[in-house]
Assembly symmetry: C2
Homo-oligomer: 213 residues x 2
Amino acid sequence: MQKQKPVSMSVIRRLPRYHRFLTELAKSGVTRISSKELSERMGFTASQVRQDFNCFGGFGQQGYGYNVPQLCTAIEEILGLQKQYPCILIGAGNLGKAIAGHMPFEQLGFQLIGVFDNSPKVVGQKIGGQEIRPYDSVGAFYEEHRPSMAILCVPRENVEEITDHLYGLGLRSFWNFGHYDIVLKHPDTIVENVHMNDSLMTLCYKLAATERP
Amino acid sequence: MQKQKPVSMSVIRRLPRYHRFLTELAKSGVTRISSKELSERMGFTASQVRQDFNCFGGFGQQGYGYNVPQLCTAIEEILGLQKQYPCILIGAGNLGKAIAGHMPFEQLGFQLIGVFDNSPKVVGQKIGGQEIRPYDSVGAFYEEHRPSMAILCVPRENVEEITDHLYGLGLRSFWNFGHYDIVLKHPDTIVENVHMNDSLMTLCYKLAATERP
DNA sequence: TAGATTGTTAATCGATTAACAATC
DNA sequence: TAGATTGTTAATCGATTAACAATC
């Protein structure tokens, strides 16, 4: 029985990209690939690819390469994509509608089980297979269904209040669209922060960098 | 005249967060802060804070700390936030509407100068101060206004085609909401990819990790 | 077998942290 | 001046790359 040393976060962050790539390859019928070819296509080094795959008990074959579907499965296992964690989405404005309607949750380890919004204008509408519920029913819903995670698609001025409320109910994992550092206030939560502002600022830096001396 | 050694990307990625934090502080009237206090509030080490600030010619004062508004300005300069790069947004569906309507471009180094969509249903509507234009006018618009960057808020199946088209027009910088690795196809472009899928997968990993042996 | 390509160890590189003299 | 806190150098840590023996 081999000791399972934890995979480093640097590696984890590359896994989704590998996964997309390998899924594409698998779809187009490719069944094997070498670290060299994969690295060239993805802009990594071959060494890194091999190191990465070995983190989770490599199963390439010398002189042959890696089995593409096997790799996909291995990555899915590491990322826990088979789990289908139940999640809820808060805020059915434009952003919420975009996410609820177009995010392929099932492929990403989640199942959307509820959408909530305050506005009577949208409550009752259907979106992403879910009827939008009034936000004040979220407490009862949490008790009954115990979602693992909440997606926040609310205006920035409401993020703090809503996070605190959900935290109070017992929720400990959030996927948040920017604007507020949940993690600082509730350090025991799991947060994945898609901070669009930061991302845009970083792009600005890159643009600015192209015209520097 | 001191040699301006380039700031490393690890540092750059932390700058937006510093900026938000310091802006908040400045707003609430705080004018000075020590690396120790800032580090504690932000979850970094004091050492890192000092190293980071020294990258761009530190101007703290021994025994005193850093001047908050000065720091903000310095970060803004590094990130190029005063530049106001003109940008266009493609796709005025829910996601596009959310971005165009709520992203504070002016604070982030950009100015939204045009929104484009194919659908006659939305063309002519106003959003984020912009009238939505038909996508087939984007070529002429590019020639006239030379936007620096395009934000893509289109369905994943259209990302490739639209990117190629804009690239053909001459655009070289993109801010893309996931699904497709522009950077691999056009390696000379500047891309900032808010890959929501990847982010969600990473959250899934973190969730899964909490229940591992 | 010969050629190819992995698994793995060692070397390098870069980023973070610690320590402390300089100085406000 | 004494206390505080920076700027900066040195030490540590981790991640990436190179190299090569193992082996399919």
